[in-house]
Amino acid sequence: MNLTEPTSSDACFCGTNMRKFSALWGRNIIPNTKDGHLDAHTDADLAAALNALTFAERQAMEADIHGVDDVIEETPVFVADKIEKMRQALERINSRQRQAWDRAVFLRPALARNDTVHLTFLRARRFRPEDAAEMMVAHFQAKRELFGDDLLIHRITWDDVCSLVAVLRRIWRRGLFIIFLILTHAIPCVRSFLRRNKHFSGQVRISYFGSMTERGEA
């Protein structure tokens, strides 16, 4: 295995568990061999270090490498406890930071009592209440910035993403050059100017073609 080349496998060596593994091994995880390949001695060291890991550490390392985590068991008592801690953590957050969340709760009071919403954020942060509370605040802040106040407390639908305003804006941006060309060719004095100065007309066409190529349409 070539470890000196920057391949996708370099991601295997960036996790915390890999650092533990490296510490257990007692040296740098990437050996500086001349040909970039592990020799037999290094292989033996690697195998020994792997064998020294506990089952839990090995599982965590596998999760880091493959990006697969175990599902956390959700008992009703555990979930209720975490949701309660998350609500307390939300109250501790600075009121200026949670402005969007407060607005959402004011407009939709059921949100504050909705355990399903809290559980979604807890699952996303592996049941760490403080992190989940911060994520919830950031979620509503980002939603407000992206979609505005009108959709803060609503489900985002396909129509919201591809709204008429967005489509018109896209048409306007892409059709601007076409409108410019039509107008410039339609006005007699401009048309005569373009006929006299063909290089200018060519520049306009090139700029239009360039813009469309950049968007992958030409």
């Binding site: 996708s8 607005r103 004011f106 994520m135 992206l146 489900r155 967005a166």
Partner: protein, 253 residues
Amino acid sequence: MARLSRYDLSDCLAFARKVWYVLSATEDDPIMQQKGLVTVGDYRGSWMSSPLQLVQHLSAYPFHAIPIHMSSLHALYTNVFKYDIVRIIRLASPEEIRMRNRLHHGSPIEIDYALRSFGIDLSTQLLRESFSSTDNLSDHDEDIEDDIRQRQRLDDEWRQSEAPYRDPRSPIALVPNPQDVILGRNKNIASTWPRNIMYNKLVKDRVDRYIEAQTLSSGRIDKTFIYCRKSLTPVSCLEMRPTGLQLMTQKLK
């Protein structure tokens, strides 16, 4: 696995909105929430956007705000320069993202091989797009359209479930409708609500006339008020109660 269609990188916010929409599908799927999500971003191709746009695009990506556990984030590149820039950006990113992020670079076969080591099989799509066969591309587009149709069906179901509350005559309000005037002591929110702005403007415009009208009969004042109300119809007032928002039927009658 959700798929995003080709997008215009120059509009970072539009891309962020689409990502938000696609990933919000997990709101309906508790199994996906528990197990997490593996995302694959296909950034292959030539450098179509400036480095500044790429940085803007990465900063606009609402990674920290979408309530989903990202098991891993795979990004595919064929452009060496783009790949190197993203690798440098990754070094400056938070540890949580750095740990989960995997960058792949090379030909479609090399990328396919790398993805297979993570248990992801995208060989059909990778090869089909590299040969850019028209028939296969139409199949791919159909897949995307199927996903969108499925999401739109869920959107319609949600709209139907909330339809009774969107009726202005409904006595219970889950959320204020655009035609509602919100009554309450939260000045920051109430002052920015569209109908409240209109209502305040109406009061402001008529306040001088109201003061002058003290000598007139009360009947004329009422008529003026009724006339103003009709210009705002349909209008309903909501008041914040401990149980939630409640329609105030006697406020404007």
